[in-house]
Every structure is written in structure tokens, then in C-alpha cells.
């Protein structure tokens, strides 16, 4: 009865893989520091979807907990990362990663 309306598990995993691959592509292609950072967030979201899908399949809540921790780490990472971006912009007055290729001077 449920097979009429149910979605195959693999669709969720494939969607997660597509989103992760797009995140990697954005990370490599884009030249703006903030957009690169947003691509990382996209990858984290894709991984969260995988965690929750497996949590559904195994009928255990552990995947939700992991996903929750990933969100916490992402929030901390966003705070520190954006502070770093602000500092970089203050020193170089540019957000292009081509201009920020050297570590010092």
C-alpha cells in the first residue's frame, strides 16, 4: 500500500550526491571568497541530507544527532570564517581569491 506513494531511498542519496558535487564545483569555479564559503555550506547541507536518510533507513535517531552537530559546527565555522573574511578584506580591500594568493605580504 505504501509502495504506491513511497520514494526510493536511493533518490535521496542521489540528490545528496548532486548537491555535494555542485558544492564542490562552486568551491572550485567561483572566484569570490564569500561564494566559495557558501559552497562549503552547501556541501555540509548535502551531507546532512545523507545522514538523515540513513537515519530513516536504520530507524535510529543517531543520524539526526550527527546532523545536529554538523549544524552547530557549521554555525561556529560561519562565525569564525566570516570574521576571517572581514579581516582579509580590511587588509587587502579585495574579495577576489586571485588577489589573495600569498599567505603574507
Amino acid at each position: 500500500m505504501q509502495s504506491m506513494t513511497s520514494v526510493p531511498l536511493s533518490w535521496y542519496l542521489i540528490l545528496s550526491a548532486i548537491l555535494f558535487a555542485l558544492g564542490v564545483a562552486g568551491f572550485v569555479i567561483r572566484r569570490n571568497l564569500i561564494t566559495v564559503f557558501m559552497s562549503i555550506e552547501l556541501m555540509l547541507n548535502a551531507v546532512n541530507l545523507s545522514f538523515i536518510t540513513f537515519s530513516y533507513q536504520l530507524k535510529q535517531v543517531d543520524g539526526h544527532i550527527f546532523s545536529f552537530f554538523v549544524m552547530v559546527v557549521a554555525a561556529a565555522e560561519a562565525a569564525v570564517g566570516l570574521a576571517i573574511i572581514l579581516t582579509v578584506f580590511k587588509n587587502r580591500s579585495s574579495l577576489q581569491i586571485d588577489d589573495i594568493s600569498s599567505m603574507k605580504y
Binding site: 509502495s3 533518490w11 559552497s39 530507524k59
Partner: protein, 165 residues
């Protein structure tokens, strides 16, 4: 009904993600990312993660993305310059990405054992009560370590935002 909802929101998520990668202006990318996160929250709901769907909207689409948009507007970030990209990269990049995704989809389809499909209501452990119970008993130590991590992040942000680095 489940399949229709999944297809609608999966399509929105993928289109928004493509838009994120393609757009030149960071604010367009940020708005696309909010679209991805909101549609992923619907998919979490379909998978039985009520608590995580709410947290996804409040923490991710709310707090983190507001931070991003705030920084983009503070720095007055304009559209990015085109860098001199090689012809080969533009020619082969997209087909190779599509081929890679097709390979991953094939492996996932073949590698998974035959399972029952996902239907709404098939998993009822995602309530705040169930998550809180596991979080404060089995995962108490990671939870406490997370608070230290957040404290370090706060200190790091304050140190980085000071005048002279």
C-alpha cells in the same frame, strides 16, 4: 503524494544549487542558498525529522544566512571579475561533472540492497522529545564538548574582529 513533494522540492533544491554556482553576484548566491536550505527542510520533514527541519530553517536559513548577507552588504561585495579560464576547463568541466554524477547515481542504485521506500510517517523518532532524550543521555559528552567549541568560536571571532591583526 510523497513522490510528488519529493520531486518538487528536490528540483527546487537542485535548481537553486545550480543558480548558486552560476551566479556572479554573491547576494544572488546567498538567496539561492536560502532556497536550497528551505527545500531541504521540507525533505527532512518527509524523512521524519521534525526537529531538524525546524532547526534547519531557524539556524541555517535564519541565523547563518543572515550573517552571510550581513557581511556581503557590509563589505559592499560587487560582482566578481572574470578570471582567465582555460578553454579546456569550460569545454570539459560540465560533461565531466555530469558523467561523474551519473557514475555516482549508478553506484548508489546498484550498491544499495533492495529496501522499502521512504514514506511520510515511517520514522517517528525525530521529535524534539526523542532527540533530546538521546542527546542528553547517550551523547552528553559530545554535547558538552560542542559548547567548548562554540566558546572557542566566539573568542576567535572577537579576536579576529579587533583592530590590528
Amino acid at each position: 503524494m510523497d513522490a510528488i513533494l519529493f520531486l518538487i522540492f528536490a528540483t527546487i533544491a537542485v535548481l537553486c544549487a545550480i543558480n548558486l554556482v552560476v551566479q556572479k553576484h554573491p547576494i544572488s548566491s546567498a538567496l539561492s542558498l536560502i532556497g536550497v536550505m528551505a527545500s531541504l527542510a521540507v525533505l527532512y520533514l518527509l524523512l521524519g525529522g521534525e526537529f531538524l527541519a525546524a532547526v534547519q530553517l531557524i539556524v541555517y536559513a535564519g541565523a547563518i544566512m543572515v550573517l552571510f548577507v550581513f557581511v556581503i552588504m557590509l563589505l559592499n561585495a560587487g560582482a566578481e571579475r572574470r578570471s582567465n579560464r582555460s578553454l579546456m576547463a569550460t569545454l570539459f568541466g560540465v560533461p565531466l561533472l555530469a558523467a561523474f554524477l551519473a557514475l555516482v547515481a549508478y553506484v548508489i542504485q546498484r550498491g544499495l540492497p533492495p529496501t522499502e521506500g521512504v514514506y511520510f510517517g515511517g520514522f517517528t523518532q525525530g521529535t524534539p522529545r526523542a532527540i533530546g532524550r538521546v542527546l542528553f543521555t547517550q551523547y552528553l559528552l559530545p554535547f558538552e564538548v560542542t559548547s567548548v567549541l562554540i566558546l572557542i568560536a566566539i573568542i576567535g571571532a572577537v579576536v579576529l574582529a579587533r583592530k590590528e591583526i
